[in-house]
């Protein structure tokens, strides 16, 4: 790393003042990747609240072992069917795409994504698809779970199931278009001086994710097409009475939906690498191992799908899938240990972003351990389709992905809006979330092992005590989200102004104003040779140069005049 020098950042050019945000720019069609990124994130947050409300109703019903809040079992089934679908396809996947959109071009020093129009198009598919999903309530909502196994989803579920499938079709198209854009952008638009091994790990994670999306999502489209045909055209792909096979759906569905777990968690892991390194002021430990393990997960992730079918798969096939599922624990372990190595001996700053990143490490590891237990066929046979699995998947997708999303929001909010989030509210948000998350989901392991299946409104009264604990903690977890939302709204109006680089970070998105101008950078920025080269004299010099180039934020009282920028369309 002897060749590291502080590169020039638009030296000699006049640095513009940061533009002010205008709400109307965010409500219309634009090809600016930053605005599209925010549109993704805002839309996803809306659906996060919807999915969260559904979860609250589930927990309300489960306070008692009888059916009392809902009128029929079908109504209850609707709640968790849409909760799962909304959270996966309209919250986590789009919000990750939003961060990718906002950050990838900035981290690459580019002006925009490779295909700006396609980028906007991919986003604008999502709102109508989301409405189509929710429109199920108008025609009889789906009741077959987010996995929608036939024949429940074909012969029994109401017409909302067809809308569900159409909506997922659209969301899948959006995903594929977005992923193609990411792959092309990352492969072709890196600046001079940034080889693959100088790329920020978030870009590595988005690259790995996009490869999975492009390879896996067409299989979902295939399965959905067959499902729609069975429902509306009288075919029998999944109908045993007509010569079809219910396992066909399970195989195709999980061939997409297991890799989809990595679609949901890899970008979060990418964000985590950024946040942990910046806020502990230390280079990422084992950069190449983290980058390559993302790729390993992406590839091995395609060989494990049938571990979701250990109670339905032909018994002879169960063992091979157990072995691949166990193997995938190894690259995941490499990441966790590398992150621990990153914070080890660092100078840890307890910002809200860092707290959520540490919370991720602490909770995700539980999901990893229960994941290994689930990979073992004899144990899985007992806990399959029980609350043990509900617990496991929430430790991975909430304790993992959502904690990472929260860390990402606190970390990049200043860049997105030019204002800081309130750190005190952030810490309140973290501690309520961390504690109530644990008590919402950890007891579910025990419920499952003791005999409570998932997806039931009526359960054995012996499980009520633990269910009350889970529900009460769940309500706290739901309310904690509003602390974040309040923080965001109040920051937009009165948050402290952020400078270009409030966290003293080395990646390129911090080498421009906050928020960045429509064209991102004045001139072509040269990246610092090592995106995580903290603790060196060169990095210190680079950061000092940045600070000189982008003076500290002006006081609010002096910044009354808006300074709008064109949006580049």
């Amino acid at each position: 790393m002897a060749s590291i020098t502080a590169p020039t950042i638009g030296e000699g050019k006049v640095q513009p003042q940061a533009p002010s945000l205008r709400i109307q720019d965010y409500l219309r069609w634009t090809v600016d990747h930053k605005i599209i990124g925010v549109q993704y994130i805002a839309t996803a947050l809306f659906f996060f609240v919807i999915g969260g409300l559904l979860a609250m109703m589930i927990r309300w019903e489960l306070l008692t072992p009888t059916l009392d809040v809902m009128q029929t079992g079908e109504q209850y089934n609707t709640l968790f069917s849409l909760h799962g679908t909304v959270m996966i396809f309209l919250w986590i996947i789009p919000v990750m795409a939003g961060f990718g959109n906002f950050l990838v071009p900035l981290q690459l020093g580019a002006k925009d994504m490779a295909f700006p129009w396609l980028n906007a198009f991919a986003f604008w598919i999502i709102p109508p698809a989301g409405l189509l999903m929710l429109a199920g309530w108008l025609v009889g909502p789906p009741e077959a779970g987010w996995t929608s196994y036939p024949p429940l989803s074909t012969l029994y579920s109401a017409d909302g199931q067809t809308l569900w499938a159409l909506s997922l079709h659209l969301l899948g198209i959006s995903s594929i278009l977005g992923a193609i854009n990411f792959i092309v952008t990352i492969l072709n638009m890196r600046p001079e001086g940034m080889g693959f091994w100088q790329m920020p790990l978030f870009c590595w994670a988005i690259l790995a994710t996009s490869i999975i999306v492009v390879m896996a999502t067409p299989f979902l489209a295939g399965a959905l097409t067959l499902l729609i045909l069975d429902r509306v055209a009288g075919t029998s792909f999944f109908n045993a009475a007509g010569g079809g096979d219910v396992l066909l759906w399970q195989n195709i569905f999980w061939f997409y939906s297991h890799p989809a777990v990595y679609i949901m968690v890899l970008p979060g892991m990418g964000m985590l690498s950024e946040v942990l390194s910046v806020h502990s002021r230390k280079p990422i430990f084992g950069y190449r191992a983290i980058a390559l393990s993302s790729m390993a997960i992406a590839l091995v992730g395609f060989t494990v799908w049938a571990h979701h079918m250990f109670t339905s798969l032909t018994p002879e096939l169960r063992i091979p899938f157990m072995i691949t599922s166990l193997i995938i624990a190894v690259p995941t372990g490499i990441k966790v240990f590398s992150w621990l190595g990153t914070i080890w001996m660092g100078k840890i700053h307890f910002t809200s972003a860092m707290l959520f990143a540490l919370g991720f490490l602490s909770m995700f590891v539980i999901g990893g351990i229960s994941g290994v237990m689930l990979a073992s066929v004899p144990v899985d046979i007992h806990v399959h389709d029980t609350y043990f699995v509900v617990s496991h998947l929430h430790f991975v997708l909430y304790g993992g992905s959502v904690f990472a999303i929260f860390a990402g929001i606190y970390h990049w909010w200043p860049k997105i809006t030019g204002r800081m989030l309130d750190e005190r509210l952030g810490k309140i948000h973290f501690w309520i979330t961390y504690v109530s998350f644990f008590f919402t989901f950890f007891p579910q392991h025990i419920l499952g092992m003791q005999g409570m299946p998932r997806r039931v409104a009526v359960y054995d009264p012996q499980f009520q005590t633990l269910n009350v604990v889970v529900s009460v903690a769940g309500f706290a977890l739901g309310l904690a989200t509003f602390v974040l939302l309040a923080n965001m709204v109040s920051s937009l109006y009165s948050g402290k102004r952020a400078g270009a680089n409030p966290w003293n970070a080395l990646t390129l998105e911090w080498a421009t104003t906050s928020p960045p101008p429509a064209y991102n950078f004045v001139g072509d920025p040269a990246p610092f040779a090592d995106p995580y080269g903290y603790g060196t004299r060169e990095s210190k010099e680079y950061l000092e140069t940045l600070d000189k180039r982008f003076p500290p934020p002006v006081d609010d009282s002096l910044a009354l005049t808006p300074n709008p920028q064109g949006t580049g369309d």
Binding site: K282, A329, V330, G341, S362, G451, P453, V456, V458
Partner: protein, 407 residues
Amino acid sequence: MSAETGKQTTTNRNSVLLIIAAFALFILGGFVIAQATPSLFPEQASAESQQVDDLFQFMLVIGGAIFLLVQGMLVYSVIRFRAKPGETGDGPPIHGNATLELVWTAIPGVIVLVLAIYSYSVWVSTTSAKDNEQVVQAVGQRFAWTFTYEVPRSAVPEDVNVADLPANIQQQFNDKGTFTITSPELHTYVGRNVKVNLLTQDSQHAFWIPAMRVKQDLLPGRVTETRFTPVLAGEYPVVCAELCGGGHGEMRASIIVHPDQETYVTWFNNEAARVFYPSEDPVERGQQVLASGAYPCAGCHILDELGWVGVTGPNQNGVADRVVNNRSPATGQTPEEYLFRSLYYPHEYLVPGFGPLMPQFQSENPGAAYYMPVEDGEAITAYFCTLSATQDNVCDLENLAAIAEAH
């Protein structure tokens, strides 16, 4: 110079000892955590449950140690390496350590290899076919379980003439030399190797006995199977674990493990006797048919007398009074006609607020999935006629016999 080297060696030796001590502590912690295993599972009622729980406990030792290692490093880091207030410096520029990275790749690799081998051996020993198995068929339908047992022709008592038995039983004898009796519970006894053949009448279900640690999905168009050997007498829940619709949570049954073969055989002979010596009283016969679980009514209806708890369909408590006071005058049908016809044509007799979910039984083809011979229809109707507040029979049984005859 030499003193300095000596000092460094001591420091190195001390940190190596510290690391070894920490790891020993984590592993010990894993053992302590794993002691919770028995309290996490239901009772070990099968030979398989012992092996599964041991495997889980083994994984909990390792998982517990890893959990403590990660949380321990996190807690240590956030205390030891926190930036002091106002501190702006960076940590040391360490980019990795090849040896360390190799170690934390190799150790998990070895762990998953061991787990794979151990899991495979448990899998083979718990699922292999055993000698002399009791074969029971479990039928799942929304939202009830029915268990059927084979009765060989040799078990027919000498004083019973097969030609006098109901048509569907005669046909079973003609087709395969045995006939089946049904029960809403799965009966077996301690030490008997059990094989359950699973089939579904409608959607997917999953057959789960938590106390036995066995679970297997029921797949339309396939017969699947599962095996276990009970070791502890008692009654344990059988649970549906695969979403099958609105009444999924109520789709429960029991397995009754008799302490020995004699008590099991006594139960079995009593059940078989109900077929060989049907009661002359249609009311009693109807109650017996329903109690045997031959029809999946319990999955959707409430009937306290028989312990039905389903909530998907209308409550059957006091149905006789409602028919006499309300439905019979409204339709112009006699109570017996109304009840009998609503059994066979449920979709024409929907109770307000309920959908057309009940299977349509027919009395012509004994091989059909939803078959209810007229004798059963008559007996069930006769029994329903007594479900009044006073427990009096509200129907004319002779008229009922005529209706059944004409059906």
